[in-house]
């Protein structure tokens, strides 16, 4: 006789939760995968529901293969590759969706649930905000409910009960998970994996033409948050440098990679030291934001020759780094002849007027410093305007700005000043980055958004090194002292109708916004930023000297303790667990005790019955006898009397006793 192996089918509760979980898992990834996957998912879901309603058949093997192959091809077409994170996630999601139409047995459901967990993990690579994390808990609970439903019998109740059980287990698991999170050693990446593709990341770029930074100011996107070990320095000291742009082509300042970039710059620490840490949002760039002159002990960051900090790989995730800065440091007191020439580079045939003005200034001010001061004074005293919407400039952009429009944003000022200084023979460069930031008093940090983007100038003097100078300050000091919002009182920043920044003048909304921001800051700092370095610092503070052995042992002990507590709570050994029969006997005793008939501890039930029955009416005696008889049958004779019968007899006894 041939034996057919019947695969156990999927219980209804599980199927319901599986479908819900799938929707929940897919939604956050919709923005990162090709849209046709949604269509595919709808087709597959409809197909599976029709199968459930017996209107359609499961696809045959050949159809499944065809679907897999064409889906993979479609991924290749829309992603241009089958490797890489984006294509990988698209493939994972396709598999996750296609698995739906061959969801027959419990094993298929299991595969789908595990795939779901994995998909949730990949979604963290795209978004690891608090909201995303909170949302993913929903998906995980639904997936767990599907897993629980898979084990339930047909007798199990409503789907609501299933998810309650799943949520209960999840909640109980939190303490142990927390311990593991804190103590499990953070390892270095075992191998390099493809990173998420950049999706139009805004931010400082490696070149700057007039209008670029003004455009950036339209965005209120967060760039980074910085916290200081001590007091937060004054706003006008917060010049967060990202890049220096040494090469000018007549219109645009460019970053230029030089071999000397990799040489450590010459500098001497002077004055006070600032200790700060920065949590930056993913930028897809390698450069970091720092105060001049900064140094860090982090291995993957280096101080470049132009005093910028650079990470060895592009930043694709929220990244935390710590650094020390010496604002008064002596930076590069000596410049090699090549570099000296390099920082004087100017294209020929542009901006003749500006060149001529530079020559005049040079004649009047042989001293570099007084020349710089004269340029600043020029910006300060002439009719210059600071605006987000400057007029367009032509070929001789510096000339037009200096002598015609006199209206511009920071890049106009820094660009023309650097040009004039170079034309006057002073090595100079444009620096781009962010200036200022909004101070959060509750957590003592500064948060910098895209509209804080700024550019300024550095010039060089023999023996004194590089000096920062900001022409914008001469035109719009409030920009530097109070931020862009104040400087542009007339022009409204385009932060959007729905951005809470648009309502910062309303007190409670602003409070909410700041509170939310504080929460995000802590999230980034303490949760997302909890990597090797932070973990080691924290453990050092907790356990003193770190040895992984010690940590391993304490982790195991702590988990065992937690388990003991949880199992005590689950099993409640202090509660006596009575069988139904014994429970009814207790009720019986309590019922009679109310009539002053108390059973002695050593007294047999029969003896007790004989002792008390004299006081009872014949009807009551019968009810009593019935109960005692059934009890004996169950407990001693092992006769299959259902406990429901015993309960009825107890009820009858109660009625007859009450009847008198």
């Amino acid at each position: 006789m041939a034996k057919h192996k019947i695969k156990p089918s999927i219980p209804r509760n599980s199927l319901i939760w599986l479908l819900i979980a799938q929707v929940l898992v897919i939604i956050p990834l919709l923005w990162h995968v090709p849209l046709w996957i949604v269509g595919l998912w709808l087709v597959c879901a409809a197909w599976r529901i029709q199968v459930f309603r017996m209107r359609m058949q499961f696809p045959r093997a050949i159809v499944k293969v065809a679907m897999m192959v064409s889906a993979a091809f479609a991924v290749y077409l829309s992603r241009g590759s089958l490797v890489g994170l984006d294509a990988g996630v698209a493939l994972l999601l396709t598999a996750f969706v296609l698995k739906l139409v061959e969801l027959r047995s419990k094993r298929d459901a299991l595969v789908l649930i595990y795939l779901g967990f994995f998909t949730v993990v990949t979604s963290y690579l795209f978004d690891d905000s608090i909201l995303a994390a909170g949302y993913s808990l929903l998906s995980v609970t639904a997936l767990l409910a599907a897993l629980v439903g898979l084990q339930q019998t047909v007798l199990a109740g409503r789907p609501g009960k299933t998810i309650t059980q799943a949520a209960a287990i999840l909640l109980q698991a939190i303490p142990v998970a927390l311990l593991l999170f804190l103590f499990f050693p953070r390892l270095d990446p075992l191998w390099v994996l493809p990173a998420p593709k950049d999706k139009g990341v805004t931010g400082i770029s490696d070149h700057m033409s007039p209008g670029d930074i003004a455009e950036l100011s339209q965005s209120s996107e967060l760039v980074f948050r910085a916290s200081f070990a001590g007091e937060i320095p004054a706003q006008n000291q917060l010049y967060w440098r990202a890049l220096t742009l040494p090469y000018f082509d007549g219109r645009t300042w460019h970053m230029q990679n030089m071999t000397s970039d990799l040489l450590a710059p010459e500098w001497q620490a002077q004055g006070d030291m600032l200790e700060y840490s920065v949590i930056m949002q993913p930028s897809s760039r390698t450069w970091l934001y720092s105060l001049a002159v900064s140094q860090t002990e982090q291995k993957d960051i280096r101080l470049m020759n132009d005093f910028r900090l650079q990470h060895n790989t592009p930043i694709h995730r929220t990244y935390l780094y710590q650094a020390q800065a010496w604002p008064e440091a002596l930076a590069e007191p000596k410049l090699s002849p090549e570099k000296y020439r390099f920082y004087l580079q100017l294209p020929r045939d542009v901006n003749p007027q500006a060149r001529a003005w530079a020559q005049q200034l040079r004649q009047r001010h042989p001293d570099d410093e007084s020349l710089v001061r004269a340029v600043l004074r020029h910006f300060n005293q002439e009719e210059y305007f600071y605006t987000l919407k400057p007029p367009r400039l032509g070929k001789h952009s510096v000339d037009e700005f200096l002598f015609a429009t006199q209206t511009g944003f920071c890049e106009h000022y820094s660009s023309s000043m650097a040009f004039v200084l170079r034309a006057a023979g002073i090595p100079a460069r444009v620096v781009t980055g962010y200036q200022g930031g909004e101070v959060n008093r509750t957590e003592n940090y500064v948060q910098v958004r895209q509209y804080d983007a700024h550019s300024w100038v550095e010039y060089w003097r023999l023996g004194f090194g590089w000096h920062r100078v900001d022409p914008t300050f001469q035109v719009a000091p409030e920009r530097i002292e109070q931020g862009l919002q104040e400087a542009l009182r007339g022009e409204s920043l385009n932060t959007g109708l729905f951005s809470p920044l648009s309502y910062r003048h309303i007190g409670w909304i602003n409070q909410l916004r700041i509170g939310w921001d504080t929460l995000n800051y802590n999230w980034q700092k303490n949760v997302l930023g909890y990597q090797a370095e932070r973990q080691q610092n924290w453990l050092k503070g907790l356990l003193g000297e770190i040895s992984w052995q010690k940590i391993g042992v304490s982790l195991v002990i702590a988990i065992a303790l937690l388990f003991a507590v949880i199992s005590l709570w689950l099993f409640k050994p202090w509660q006596t667990r009575l069988s139904e029969t014994q429970r009814l006997l207790r009720q019986f005793e309590r019922l009679l005790a109310k009539r002053q008939c108390v059973r002695n501890p050593a007294e047999g039930l029969r003896a007790f019955q004989l002792r008390i029955k004299e006081d009872l009416s014949p009807q009551q005696q019968i009810a009593l006898e019935d109960f005692v008889h059934s009890y004996e049958q169950i407990e001693y004779a092992n006769v299959p009397v259902p406990s429901a019968q015993l309960q009825q007899q107890l009820q009858a006894l109660r009625h007859s006793l009450a009847g008198r």
Partner: protein, 319 residues
């Protein structure tokens, strides 16, 4: 292999001896990961790889949360068996070739039990739930091919609830056995050695219906044969009454093992069919099994006695 099994069985009977009522306790329950559990661990490992390589805190967090859920489900799965009380209920006899049924009562004390599986093989488990403070009766059935007394043996009790990644199990022997009567084979009766011939038996069956012989009921007295007690009446709680029959004349049915041809099992099967038939016809009969003689008598009790004798018949090995 067999020695190992033997040893295992002995070990089990020391740990959890056969008894009608078993409350699953600490030392009776074992817990091991299932195949799905190993797959779960593999999935977690994969997730940990992602967390390490992308240095993603949330990936770490989810991996640890699920690992913790997995560990915690040991307690849940274990708890879903601990304290469950199993009672082996009396069985009903059946015929060879039928399914013997073993009724088992599951009693929950204090907490609900979900998805409890019972059975002899892991592939065929009977699943049931037991609500809090209640009991659930299930019936395991086992195809029996041979007559005799069949013990239920050790029954596997297991649960994979809630996550299916662990299985908690035990093996209980509820001291249940079932009496299996021979498979009835309807063959023409060859009642050798009976005074009356086949025709007369038939005639008696058609004409008599036993009514003439049946005199009525009389109160039971010391010394009366228990075989003649009217059990139907007794079971209604109306006391012990004895059926009175008129003296049966020569034409009395006699079923004699030794008068039949064929091998032992065949003869028992033929006798079994006759016992059923005669009882249905309410014809008094005597059953002779070598040294053992039962009857004359009729009625359900008589039938049961005869069938039991047939089921347990051990002699006549020589045929």
């Amino acid at each position: 292999m067999s020695a190992w099994r033997h040893w295992l069985a002995a070990w089990w009977s020391r740990r959890l001896p056969a008894q009608t009522r078993v409350k699953l306790g600490q030392k009776h329950i074992f817990i091991v990961p299932t195949l799905a559990g190993y797959a779960f661990a593999a999935a977690l490992l994969l997730m940990l790889m992602v967390a390490i390589n992308y240095q993603n805190s949330l990936a770490y967090a989810l991996t640890f949360l699920l690992a913790s859920v997995g560990l915690l489900s040991i307690l849940h799965t274990w708890r879903n068996l601990a304290g469950l009380q199993l009672v082996g209920l009396p069985t009903e006899a059946c015929f060879a070739g039928e399914n013997a049924r073993f009724p088992i009562r599951l009693q929950a004390t204090g907490r609900a039990y979900q998805a409890i599986g019972l059975g002899w093989s892991r592939q065929k488990m009977l699943m049931t739930d037991v609500a809090k403070h209640s009991e659930q009766q299930v019936e395991l059935s086992l195809a029996v091919k041979r007559r005799g007394k069949h013990s239920a043996g050790r029954i596997r009790v297991e649960t994979r609830f809630p996550l299916g990644i662990w299985v908690a199990w035990s093996q209980v022997d509820l001291a249940q056995s079932v009496l299996v009567y021979p498979k009835p084979i309807a063959a023409p009766l060859e009642l050798a050695g009976v005074a009356a011939g086949e025709d007369e038996v038939e005639g008696l069956a058609t004409a008599g219906r036993g009514v003439d012989d049946y005199q009525g009921l009389e109160a039971w007295q010391q010394g009366d044969s228990l075989r003649r007690v009217n059990w139907k009446v007794w079971s209604k709680g109306q006391g012990l009454w004895v059926k009175q029959f008129a003296e049966l004349k020569g034409a009395q049915a006699q079923l004699d093992f030794s008068s039949l041809g064929g091998d032992v099992e065949y003869r028992l099967s033929v006798l079994c069919a006759q016992v059923l038939k005669l009882t249905q016809q309410e014809t008094p009969f005597t059953l002779k099994l070598l040294e053992q003689t039962i009857g004359p008598g009729t009625g359900v009790a008589h039938q049961a006695e005869c069938l039991t004798a047939l089921a347990l018949f051990a002699g006549g090995g020589h045929g």
